[in-house]
Symmetry: C2
Subunit: 353 residues, 2 copies
């Protein structure tokens, strides 16, 4: 059934559970090589999240859950208490890999809850693995539901700009923002995509351009500096991006650069949409509570072995920025589309849940 799902939704399956092993695409090798890596140790999964072998908020939520599934299988404990202790240790290590995306916390907590409900070691191991597998399948279903809702916002002959990668490669399969783009195309509308390069890690050129080309969707790459130019030239009708965290007020945390793409869209009267599952929402935090992950300056001072800046230079390299609700035309979820005023609209989506 897994095979069928993969074929149906997209030929790319980013995360898969096979014979008690976790199999993931090594995204650091893209677009040059499509390599699948097997994991049997949760410590390696934590490292994979940290080093962007797997990235994208929904994908790291599910890979965190599978990390705990591996931790459960790895555990030699004979009692429930010892197993929970082992899982708690693994949860901490997995959680500390990346601080901004809320899906990781969500995925880990969901598994810990289920683990605590189990009666004995074998039952817990079984429950944890099955729950993680179900989360992966649900992720694909959620993305397809999101695609269905979102595709209604897009018209025949639209050219849609996207930033970073909120695609199959950011989820288990199909994607959030790119899922909406896939669904729009599947609904029979002709569309084109403009992908920003998304420096410094280049998820736009390495991943989005790769996966859209792979699926036969018309895609054009631009440097991040050309967002304003392409909009001013009338080359963009709509923008859609993913999210790493969304607050109850509609503040959206997403890949660095999203805020300026949204600002330029507003300036040019271009609708700016966000696509994210409900698991991306953080209904508790306020903007001042959210920690923006600061990554190593070496991501900016070179690419691979190629040095592009002088040695010992100061760097500011935040992974995310915040887009305020007034720049957002709509937030597409699996339960429908939230619109301004976002406070009310988001609340309703969760009440319907």
């Amino acid at each position: 059934m897994k095979e069928e799902t993969t074929t149906l939704h997209s030929s790319l399956r980013t995360i898969e559970w096979k014979d008690n092993k976790l199999v993931m695409i090594d995204q650091t090798k893209l677009p040059n090589e499509l390599v699948f890596v097997e994991f049997t140790d949760y410590n390696d999964v934590a490292n994979a999240i940290r080093t962007l072998v797997v990235r994208g908020a929904p994908a790291i939520g599910v890979s965190g859950a599978f990390g705990l599934a591996l931790a459960a299988l790895q555990s030699k404990s004979m009692t429930k208490e010892e197993l929970i202790e082992d899982l708690e240790k693994a949860r901490k290590i997995l959680f500390e890999t990346r601080p901004t995306a809320v899906n990781l916390k969500w995925g880990l907590e969901k598994i810990m809850k289920v683990a605590n409900e189990g009666d004995n070691v074998n039952e817990i191991k079984e429950l944890v693995v099955q729950t993680a597998k179900k989360m992966a399948e649900d992720d694909v279903k959620i993305n397809m539901a999101m695609g269905k809702h979102g595709s209604e916002l897009f018209n025949d002959n639209d050219t849609i700009m996207t930033h970073c990668n909120a695609g199959a490669l950011a989820t288990v399969a199909y994607g959030t923002a790119l899922g909406v783009i896939r669904a729009t195309k599947e609904s029979g509308k002709k569309i084109k995509v403009i992908a920003t390069e998304t420096r410094p890690v280049q998820q736009g050129s390495r991943l989005t351009a790769f996966e859209l080309k792979h699926d036969g969707i018309d895609v054009t790459l631009i440097p991040d500096t050309a967002v304003g130019y392409t909009m001013a030239q009338g080359l963009v009708n709509k923008v859609i991006v993913g999210a790493d965290r969304i607050l109850r007020t509609g503040h959206v945390y997403n890949k660095i650069g999203t805020y300026q793409v949204a600002t330029m869209a507003k300036q040019h009267g271009i609708p700016f949409y966000v696509a994210a599952p409900l698991s991306t929402f953080d209904l508790q935090s306020n903007p001042e509570d959210v920690i923006i992950e600061q990554r190593n300056g070496s991501e900016v001072t070179g690419i691979g072995d190629k040095k592009t800046a002088p040695d010992g230079i100061n760097v500011i390299n935040p992974a995310f920025d915040m887009t305020p609700p007034e720049l957002i035309s709509g937030i597409i979820t699996e339960k429908g589309i939230a619109k301004a005023p976002f406070g009310e609209s988001i609340k309703k989506l969760f009440e319907a849940n």
Copy 2:
């Protein structure tokens, strides 16, 4: 005297005339190697302009003029008419290297005018070389005058964002926007600089970060995607950039990405300044007349040998964009600062000229 000038203004001299040869820094080798290249053939100068060995509007204006000086020395013609014909041929080849910066046209026309005024072959050769040398010296003087005017706009403890490289490396020496930054520092004010990487050619990381660090000015590098973030965090007080062409209406053509930096500055109430000599102004053209140079997609799909996008991908790679006058707080020139309404203010600068 040349040596002294270099030491006084900045330790970097981008363009120099030595023993009837043109010596330029090969900017494609920066920041890894500081290499000086000698030119004796104007065709090689044209190629150097085309391949960004030398870049920056004022620098290509002067290197175009020196290209014609080399063409004059290379010419074996015995009559004025034949020499003018040779120069005309060289002018065309040099002019067609890059279409957007107006300084190149200005530099070439200035030399052709002088050449036409000469009476005989020897006199023309002498006039052409001396005029090109004077243009180089004037460029430095103009930059220092611009620095003096501009430095009054900046305060102690300002953090100034700049985009691309409008520095010593974009001129003969000292720089336009970075000349203002140098003059501000020389006036005793403490300042810090935030340099954007400036994809795809990375003039910000390769050149601006290099030359400011070289001169001991505090500089921090950010990816182009972090412009909005750093402004939203209150880390930027002012912005200053150079220009490749400025219209009589105050429309500024500058490195791709300038428009969105200016938009973000406006959004955050941060003054946005442009520094450029009068030779950068094009008082004839309207915005619809200006050709935006489109460069090869390979600049965006990889860095050096490192491929960062799938093969055969569509790319939009404009070298410049247009910033409308309503986003600009002031245009700093060697004759003073133009402010809104720019039409009148620019006219006055030229009347005073």
